[in-house]
Amino acid sequence: MKKRSATNKQAQQAAQAVAEKLVPYRSRTKAERDFLRFASFEINNFRCFDSFELSPLSLVNLITGMNGVGKTAILEALFLHIGATNPTCALRVNLWRGLGGAGEWTGMLWRTLFWQFKTTDPIRFVRTDSRGNKSTLTITIAPSAAAVTQDMTADMGIEFAKDLGRDLVLEYEDEKGQVSTVRGTPEIVKKGDVVQFQLKVEPPVAQTPFPGIFLNSWRQGLAEEEVQRFSGLRISKQDEMVLDVLKRMEPRLEKLEILSPHGASMIYGHLRGYNEPVPLSLLGDGVRRVTSLVLAIGSARGGTLLVDEVDNGIHHSVMPSLWEAIGRAADLFHTQVIATTHSLECVSAAYEAFSRRRSYDLTLHRVDRMDGMVRAIAYDRESLEGALSLPTEVRG
């Protein structure tokens, strides 16, 4: 009897140890329990799109297509909808396009957002979530309520003054039908000899409707951002999940931590067989890049990660590991991933990686321009298998 009792106790202790180890996977936030991802997304009058729909959207989505067909614009539209109550998102997408500075000074600040520069018609984004609820962001240009200080604009030229009198107005209707309006007013602020451009946001942004991160092609893998993201995950005790994903790619990895032996903070990895921690950047571009993506997926927990040119700088041999990591991290953190690529190897690797997963939650969207209209064709598992086997041109 005593022996059985001891065995039970050991079993209980073992179960408790397992349960403790699994705590990060259990402690889901309310946002995660209510995780509602994009099921479809409509774009109207934005950038190169008169009218466009992306549907159906899976947990992980890959967008292919020719240069100039609008892949990045789709991510920008999603980003604007994610930050629906924050007009500075519109400035940021222009800045990433290299339109920031030039736009400010040539009267193109807002016009480039609109299809064929037609600011008379509103931009409209409609998100349908996985329960069928709709939320709509409408973007318009309106005369500025704020007075323009003439002596400040005099130095800036007539063209610039054109946009100083125009506000970007965001009207967001959430899934419950509640409408909130936010205005972004371009302003010139003179501090001493320095003249600065800024966007006055009224009312101030409290919280955007959905968590989300946009990694564009040149911002991927900024060490400072990665340190911030890892810190955030460490504080919320979710860093173990990052380690869990990375261990599958680098089995020697035992622990991640932030160290700053030379001033700048960096992420270091403790590797089995090494006497001291190794900067993550020394573990190769593959590990570094996957870490960057997994940290972004973790930081966008319960929301959306948008990645432009996800295969950028990745050797084809690393692609399968990349997609295994993305799939697992997206599952663990309940983060929807929407990425673009030009690479067939990337598409094949994604298909292979998701085919091995318990549930195939991947959709490929091939964006084509046909008869002047841009449209997306969605490939589920079976059609992508057929397209890769024949093979057809899935890159658009």
């Binding site: 079976e382 057929g386 397209a387 890769l388 086997s389 024949l390 093979p391």
Partner: protein
């Protein structure tokens, strides 16, 4: 059974230059090049039907093998998504009946339905639905 990424050769699958971007595509890529498509199981069927069509002097039929009967469904779904498919006038599917002709026909009907295409009630019976033709 063919796996995604395996190289295959056949009608309409020759190495080519991308008509849109100019890239030389070394791997053979399937393209819809003729107004009528005949989907067949494998290379033997492709050779046979190719020879028959040539013998009959027909020039508007493209024969494409899909690497086995198990691939008919996924291949049809992929082909139907090709932008030029909207210009296809007629589509035929051949399949070995094996030991159960009824099951084979049902399988093709299901594959056509999965690709969003109409299917006939009986084998060898044309049905309208692709651009109003048979």
């Amino acid at each position: 059974m063919r796996k995604p990424g395996d190289l295959i050769l056949g009608l309409g699958k020759s190495p080519s230059t991308c008509p849109r971007c100019g890239e030389v595509i070394e791997r053979p890529v399937f393209r819809i090049e003729k107004p009528k498509l005949l989907i067949v199981e494998g290379k033997d069927e492709e050779s046979f039907f190719g020879a028959v069509i040539a013998h009959l002097g027909l020039t508007d039929i493209q024969v494409t093998e899909v690497g086995g009967k198990r691939n008919i469904r996924s291949a049809l779904k992929a082909i139907a998504k090709e932008p030029p498919f909207s210009k296809v006038e007629a589509l035929g599917v051949t399949r070995d009946a094996d030991t159960d002709p009824s099951a084979a026909f049902k399988s093709v009907k299901a594959a056509l339905a999965a690709a969003g295409l109409p299917s006939p009630k009986k084998p060898l019976q044309p049905v309208k639905g692709i651009r109003g033709s048979t």
